[in-house]
Amino acid sequence: MSDFERFIHTFFNLEVAARYWPDILSGLGVTAGIGLLVAVSGLALGVALAVLRAMQIRPLSLLIIAFADILRALPPLVLMIIFFFAFPLIGMPMNAFTTVWLTLTLVLAAYAEESMWGGILALPRGQSEAARSTGLTWWQTMTAVILPQAFRIAVPPLTNRVIAISKNVALGSVVALSEVLNNAQSASSLSANPTPLTMAAFAYLLLFLPVMLAARRLERRWQWKV
């Protein structure tokens, strides 16, 4: 066997691929599903927290800052383990899916809150003054003038964060979640061949490249910002 043949046999082994592709596919489904749910719930919670913080009620703002700082400081793995192993002890058992979803939602919300807050702060005071001077309420000003602009400012960091955190679905293997990397790892030890990991790599590309492309397009469409 030539070196090249050995390389193909090791990383692109069709026999192994044929046997394990259903595992990879179902794992991809789990990863994509949780990733999507986390993106929706994490972004929604993050935006909501940034809006609450903009109300400038001091105790509330301090709570939000504490939440964001703590969740960004802790490794998500630690949170996952706490939720999965400690919550049953206080009568709130969580399955692997819920644990991973909840952990990553909170972590994404913490980052999203900071990005949106940064976007809100970046806007000149005159924006809300102009809106308020025409009779818009605080809430109308927030939803029609402030958030759309803050969101556009926050899109690049948010995209990076959504992708980074969706990759953390792989941490779910500690709570035995059948996500794509976990399944690939089991398959490659069973078959004594790393081909399933190659397949997992392609699965990740399949999942995240479209997200990145979509984000690029959004950024281009919002080029009104000079």
Partner: protein, 248 residues
Amino acid sequence: MSPSPILELVGLHKAYGSLSVLRGIDLRVWPGEMVCVIGPSGSGKSSMLRCCNRLEESTGGQVVVDGVDITRADVDINTVRQHIGMVFQQFNLYPHLTALGNVALALRKVQGKSKAEAETLAMAALERVGLVDKARVYPAQLSGGQAQRVGIARAIVLEPKLILFDEPTSALDPETVGEVLKVMRQLRETGMTMLVVTHEMGFARAAADRVIFMDGGVIVEEGVPAAVFGAPQHERTKAFLARYHAAE
């Protein structure tokens, strides 16, 4: 029956912490009048203007708009603000909306008009400032003069009783100042009541019904332009105008 003022400031005071910047302003603006406010930097011109729609809260005295003291706690300020337009030095257009969207926003959100109705009215307002052809353009693609005219359209579309202008031409290139002043003159001819803080002495002299000179948080002198510019009574007014002429 004598007409009542659109705007009446009674003993208006404003302090930022311990810094007192308005120290008893009494002023009446009558329907259809254009009053220009001049005075050195830091004399409290912007503060006074911003107290008129409560972008700043006054710390004493009254702001009476069309007979209602709007500093009272039970006043719905959002309703009042529909009747008081404001035009800003930095335009403050919403960059994520087109010129049309900028003008139509309050019609939709505050007055609850349909999209079609709001756009028709917004188009009419853009027409009045001569910018129908820029309706679909975003603020970033407008010149300063055009942006400020959109700012004026955004204020007039609500058919306010009074428009407050805070140095509307100070951020403009000299070439575009004229087009904004022209729109303001036309507005005055339609009977709009206007309170204008400005450094454009030529404009104040030619177009104002009355000129107010402020210094140190008080109105030092007021009168028709010919009087204030031609024969100022107070030393501070003379000194200010002399500095101004020297600078020109």
